[in-house]
């Protein structure tokens, strides 16, 4: 069973529907106790980093996620959910993240006519072909992005793909059983569904 965490930030239903279209059994959970039995957890999210972190801490979900990872459970963070895996965000000063991965979250600088938010389809430059999420993908894969902040990984070994938008930012990361994607696989048509399918098949 895949637990999808609902902490009041964003469109969890499309993640659920996309996972189900690939044959997964899912459950939407909003309390720490509700996903103890889940082998995989998805942390979605859009909106503000600080609000989201506050929600995770207040509800006890943050701590439960730590426990889930420590006992070897798989975690996938999507968009803001990926950003929260890092140590801190520059959004509204310095806000602490879940600190599962090294690095911090920065804002795109709107220079040279770069529009912020970064909205639309951008290319995944896959640098780690061994990343289980990317199994079976080709060399010209595009995914749908929608964000104003990006993660700057502290350890480049964690980066599975980069994407170029003014700078090269980490569009997918993973370390052991923890995965994060900055794009929305649930909105990225066949490429995204393939990635979710790979996620479902992870042991």
């Amino acid at each position: 069973m895949i637990a999808i965490i609902d902490y009041g930030m964003g469109n969890i239903h499309s993640v659920k529907k996309a996972l189900e279209s690939q044959g997964a059994k899912t459950r939407i959970v909003s309390k720490p106790g509700e996903f103890r039995s889940a082998d995989k957890v998805v942390l979605p999210g859009v909106g503000a980093f600080s609000d989201a972190m506050r929600q995770l801490r207040r509800s006890g979900i943050g701590q439960a996620l730590d426990e889930h990872i420590k006992k070897g459970g798989v975690l996938l963070g999507i968009c803001l959910g990926m950003q929260m895996l890092f140590e801190k965000s520059r959004e509204a000063g310095d806000v602490k993240g879940l600190a599962v991965l090294k690095g911090r979250v920065e804002k795109f600088i709107d220079m040279n006519g770069l529009k912020v938010p970064h909205i639309g389809w951008n290319k995944l430059d896959i640098i780690d072909k061994g990343c289980p999420l990317f199994k079976g993908l080709g060399s010209r894969e595009y995914a749908y992005f929608c964000h104003s902040y990006y993660a700057k990984a502290g350890d480049e070994d964690d980066v599975a793909s980069f994407t170029e938008y003014g700078i090269n930012f980490a569009s997918a990361v993973y370390r052991e059983n923890v995965y994060g994607v900055q794009f929305h696989p649930e909105k990225s048509q066949n490429t995204g569904l393939k990635i979710l399918n790979n996620f479902i098949k992870l042991c």
Binding site: G10, N11, H13, S14, K17, A18, S21, V46, G47, A48, D110, G113, K115, V116, P117, H118, I119, G120, W121, N122, K123, Y142, Y144, F145, C146, H147, S148, E164, Y165, H184, E186, K187, S188, Q189, G192, L193
Partner: protein, 253 residues
């Protein structure tokens, strides 16, 4: 590199697609899900559903429809038309819409932009602007209520104000070009897309391939929206994208 988006727009009335959509091989061209899937196969980057249901009471059909679309189509979609307040926005997002497009209500209550983007995030708040040129000047005026009511607002100022209040994108329709098939309003789109820092979706006037090239070569638009040219199969989304790719414009193929 970020690709330019091609976005078909569908008019929805009481849960059905209106304006005959002449897709090949579609059993039910009025079913938004079938139409959405057909556009999905053509590599559309996003869809916009514009609800033109006249009566507010019948708008419940829209929520059921949005749920059905979200269940079947795995690409971003925006829903607009008749949105009055936070509750309407929340209902649509909860039903599975990725973004909502607000037009008249945003002009009447600009705080709605601030409040909704604060609550749900800028990425899901699109401010739609219908603009018409003032005579021969280089100024455009904002109209509301489906283009019936002039507001006295300058389109550029309103676009900037919308961005400041928290809009994530501007959907800019030229009333002078809409329906003409003479091409997008390059002057208007250039002016606004170069001056606001959020993405601008150009709308109104697409009639042939070169119009799509021009809007991306001559303005800073992030996306081009079109309705009838796609509905009546004059062009497919894929044809437009191949053409743009051959003309050196980055698209997802």
């Amino acid at each position: 590199m970020l690709t330019k988006r091609i976005i078909p727009c569908l008019d929805i009335k009481e849960g059905r697609v209106v304006k005959g959509v002449k897709f090949l091989g579609l059993k039910d061209a009025g079913d938004p899900v079938s139409v959405g899937r057909a556009y999905d196969r053509q590599m559309a980057d996003e869809l916009v559903f514009l609800d033109i249901t006249a009566s507010y009471e019948k708008r419940k059909t829209l929520i059921a429809l949005v749920e059905k679309i979200a269940k079947n189509i795995f690409m971003p979609f925006t829903v607009g038309g008749g949105i009055r307040g936070i509750k309407d926005i929340r209902d649509l997002l909860n039903a599975g819409a990725d973004k909502v497009s607000i037009n008249t209500s945003a002009v009447k209550y600009p705080q709605l932009i601030a409040e909704s983007s604060g609550k749900f995030g800028s990425q899901c708040i699109v401010v739609a602007i219908d603009a018409k040129r003032n005579g021969r000047s280089k100024k455009w005026q904002v109209f509301i209520n489906g283009g019936r009511t002039p507001t006295g607002l300058d389109a550029l100022r309103w676009a900037k104000e919308s961005a400041r209040l928290g809009a994530g994108e501007i959907l800019l329709t030229s009333m002078d070009h809409d329906g003409t098939k003479d091409g997008y309003d390059l002057e208007l789109t250039k002016k606004i897309s170069e001056e606001v820092k959020i993405p601008v979706i150009a709308s109104g006037g697409a009639g042939e391939l070169k119009h799509f090239r021009d809007i991306f070569k001559k303005t800073a638009a992030s996306a081009a929206l079109a309705a009838s040219i796609f509905h009546y199969r004059q062009l497919t989304v894929r044809e437009v994208k191949r053409y743009l790719n051959n003309n050196g414009i980055k698209v997802r193929l």
